[in-house]
Symmetry: C2
Subunit: 351 residues, 2 copies
Amino acid sequence: MELSQENQDLIKKFGATPISKLSETPNFYTFNNKLIASHRDFDKFFSALKKHEKGAILSGLNASGTLHLGHKAVFDTNLFFQKKYKIPVFIPISDDESYVAGKVKTQEQALENSKRLAKELIAYGFDPKNTFFIIDQIYTNIYNLAIKLSKKVNYSEIKATYGYKPDENIGLHFYPAVQSAHILFPQEKHKIPNVLVPIGPDEDAHIRISRDIASRAGYKKPAILHVNFLPGINGEKMSTSKPNTAIFLSDDEKTIRKKISKAFSGGQKTIEEHKKLGGNPDVDISCIYLKLLFLTPEEYKDIETKYKKGNLSSGDVKKIFADKAVEFIKNFQKRLKNLDNKVVEKCILKN
Amino acid sequence: MELSQENQDLIKKFGATPISKLSETPNFYTFNNKLIASHRDFDKFFSALKKHEKGAILSGLNASGTLHLGHKAVFDTNLFFQKKYKIPVFIPISDDESYVAGKVKTQEQALENSKRLAKELIAYGFDPKNTFFIIDQIYTNIYNLAIKLSKKVNYSEIKATYGYKPDENIGLHFYPAVQSAHILFPQEKHKIPNVLVPIGPDEDAHIRISRDIASRAGYKKPAILHVNFLPGINGEKMSTSKPNTAIFLSDDEKTIRKKISKAFSGGQKTIEEHKKLGGNPDVDISCIYLKLLFLTPEEYKDIETKYKKGNLSSGDVKKIFADKAVEFIKNFQKRLKNLDNKVVEKCILKN
């Protein structure tokens, strides 16, 4: 996978560093497959971890969100570090932002969504003994750290970074202080100096300002990984508000197979042509997902070769992808069903 | 006492109502002496109280504050309602605003000040069984109500009302949502529909916007009393940052007597002239304080007459004022000294 346009922009215009320049990267699929292609200060974080210094992952979610396959790369990266280095994962679920940004109608709805997401994440595989959810409506003490940080950033900077207009509400204008509080929480509360924040490339501007605030307030700047987005299933940009662009972890088998059957394909128009010319795996959504998320390089190479030669049809690669996705999601749903709410409740930080 | 310029402005330009238009006012010195000269919806509040409907007083303080005689009118008004109608008094102490506005250097300092103020207020006379302090750093749950209300007010309105500049921090820009949360707290949390907020005339603009937010968020608009400022002891505007303008409740007897000895006087330049021409009680600080805060109309009339005739000197009225102030403050200090911290701690709201 080539560097995405987002990664290129972050590197060229905003001083991010290509992962390829690191002397050593973790041997994990999200790095190997270049799903993660740029970073800020990851070298320092990684070297601290290897020296057994205290570290943590900070990985936020919006309370309006619905988990889908697009989240897999971030979650698996977090899990890799949690398992391999036994470090805690802090997961802020920004129920307040969901409300002030109008993504949910009521604070009650935001709270309910947050609790559901927390449960889903534990079911996903996060270690309940080492995972901590910050739901702002519950852990309202986050407000004290937000106030501390709010003093270090002015309205003009927020306007320039977030593009908020004067007719937008003041909760939205304040939220960057809360987001900064989330990111600095492991340092402030748990004295963990090395914090890694995996984000989408589109969030970099927000985190850049949080890093500046961190520095102004006397904290260490957290390290950043830019985790690329996957293309939407139907070839459009993936969006939770467009159900056909994403495969949700709540989808049933029938829905998953139906969505994948309509996935954007790199095959030829007719079977005859396909057998003659072969498919184009570089634009084929099933191939891309299989390559990036589900298969080892060897497993994928085999499929790619056959697909290029026309020995595998579009339908064939769709079926392979669908089988993998169904297996993965069914296992998740089974764990979710069997998960005791009490286990999750213990992971939600209280005042 | 004539209507102050502030009261006149509030009435003429901003739709406040003169107290004189009420068909009935409470028989209490702050009303009788026109220390309270204008209001918003006080008639509704008062009539609800008399019908034994649920009511509350909401009276805030800044954590950077130091109690002085200028606070007496507000506190005594609050106490009058608390005692006579057995209603709770909620006292938000805005430690967060003190910090983001730079009135204190650290959040820790703001918290310490807040606790000291809470203790002083209980010593002042507030009923510990029916007084509740909202210290934002402790009762961080106030943030949830602030977020709810923050959605109902935009940046332009805050800018217009508070005059904040774009280079001022975002904590300051958010604070109006927290202030609104304080004011609506008795309604939201305790289902008390009738809330009275006594404020200085200079705070009216802030409370006007809070009343608008209340209404947009489906709450009843709290009633307002405008409690006038007293002139500073030395004739300047009273300000806690200028110790000679105010008599603090922490001043010792010597300091009090010294300040009053230098108080602005309405007497003549020489004793001979004074005996001949008499003093002017309308500009004499000692007379004003005695009249407005310490004496019954009959007691004051006697002094006024003698002062006007020159039978009482400036020194004489200063001594009468000093004796009253010393007695009042010594009693307060004695109660403060004997007050158990545990009693105060119970009055501080917890999450």
